[in-house]
Symmetry: C2
Subunit: 229 residues, 2 copies
């Protein structure tokens, strides 16, 4: 079976906004393009969707090929298709995003990428195509998401302090939070289990350790919650 009419088709690509967190803040994984257009300019990892592969598989494949990063949870962000977004012709891109712990991923460049590196989200170099816009949409989505879905399970150590959890939220929300207000609200979510242990190896007074109540965490991821912070 075929189409009644044959329309000229746009090219279909994927692009990935991979956010990485560590104590220092929020970073974004970029590649330095090796081919025109924008050769030598930094860009999001991405590429064409093959005719026989799922879109998300294309995102995963391009990310691994260009940066070596794999085994991460990708979410579809938005499809960007402005007629003039690519000088080569009509290209529609399905953008995905992910939030990972920097320490979990080693980065190396290959294929269309001359180089690959993490950049501070607030200090990105000029980007190719409309990738700066895609990044802004991803940042807004990330900030919004933490208000209705818990974060931290894959990003923190198994046992952590409330300060570490607060720091994670501050990094993602890109603003400082009031310590007492944060503690009151996060504990009210009943997401955390207080452990009978304290930090070790710190110069200041050792803080109590917590872990996530995994079942409750997964349930809140599934059904959502309202975290007004």
């Amino acid at each position: 079976m075929s189409f009644t009419y044959e329309y000229p088709r746009p090219a279909l690509t994927v692009d990935c906004v991979v956010f990485g967190v560590d104590e220092g803040g929020l970073k974004i994984l970029l590649i330095e393009r090796d081919i025109e257009p924008f050769a030598g300019r930094w860009a999001l990892p991405g590429g064409h969707v093959h005719i026989d592969e799922e879109i998300e598989d294309a995102a995963r494949r391009e990310l691994e090929e260009e940066t070596g990063v794999d085994k991460l949870f990708l979410e579809q962000l938005y499809t960007f298709g402005a007629v003039d977004r690519d000088p080569r012709g009509r290209v529609v891109t399905v953008a995905y995003y992910a939030l990972v712990r920097l320490a979990d991923h080693r980065v190396r460049a290959a294929t269309d990428a001359r180089d690959a590196a993490w950049f501070a989200a607030d200090a990105l170099p000029p980007l190719a195509f409309d990738h700066a816009k895609i990044v802004e949409v991803a940042r807004a989505r990330l900030r919004g998401k933490v208000r209705y879905e818990p974060i931290g399970f894959e990003l923190l150590p198994r046992k952590f302090t409330l300060s570490q959890l607060q720091r994670l939220y501050e990094i993602v929300l890109e603003r400082p939070l009031d310590k007492r207000n944060f503690r009151k609200k996060i504990l009210a979510m009943e997401l955390l289990v207080e452990l009978d242990e304290h930090e070790t190896g710190v110069a200041h007074r050792a803080a109590r350790l917590y872990r996530f109540d995994e079942r409750r965490y997964r349930r809140l991821v599934r059904q959502g919650f309202n975290f007004e912070i």
Copy 2:
């Protein structure tokens, strides 16, 4: 400039999930397909994106061509691209959704649509392609959206009762709400202006009328809110 490699390209389409509300409940706008595949089966209005048009413009155009419905606010829902979703070959569709007041839109079929009609969201006929799945994703998005963005401004009369507003939420959330709890929470949002007027022409005790505080409404649409209902 052209591409270094030419990849076979999927077809690119759009599909629209238009929700309509009235006192009776939630409805969805469907068209009866006039051509194969699935000729005679109901489906979402949609079609190919032309090489020189924006994706959202394609959604708007196909919707108007196939159903006569126009002048509505469309939001991108998700891009569905499963390899086997269309028997004609690889077709990736960018789905959009909208929520309108039924009374505002007259429906008539044309072009690829043999017929066009509103169906109760809980009583849809068998749909073509993966449109039943697209509808479910749209319904879930709509239910989630009302928790972080106010609704009603384009859907209710300018002056309305709290019962009418509650009914709108019940229709969208697809479950009954507790009257006292709803009133307490919606009034706490400071979205409404209490008017010095009451309903007219009703047999029961006439309820007080309200209107939206438009500036506050728009601000909450922009910045989001947490409406745990």
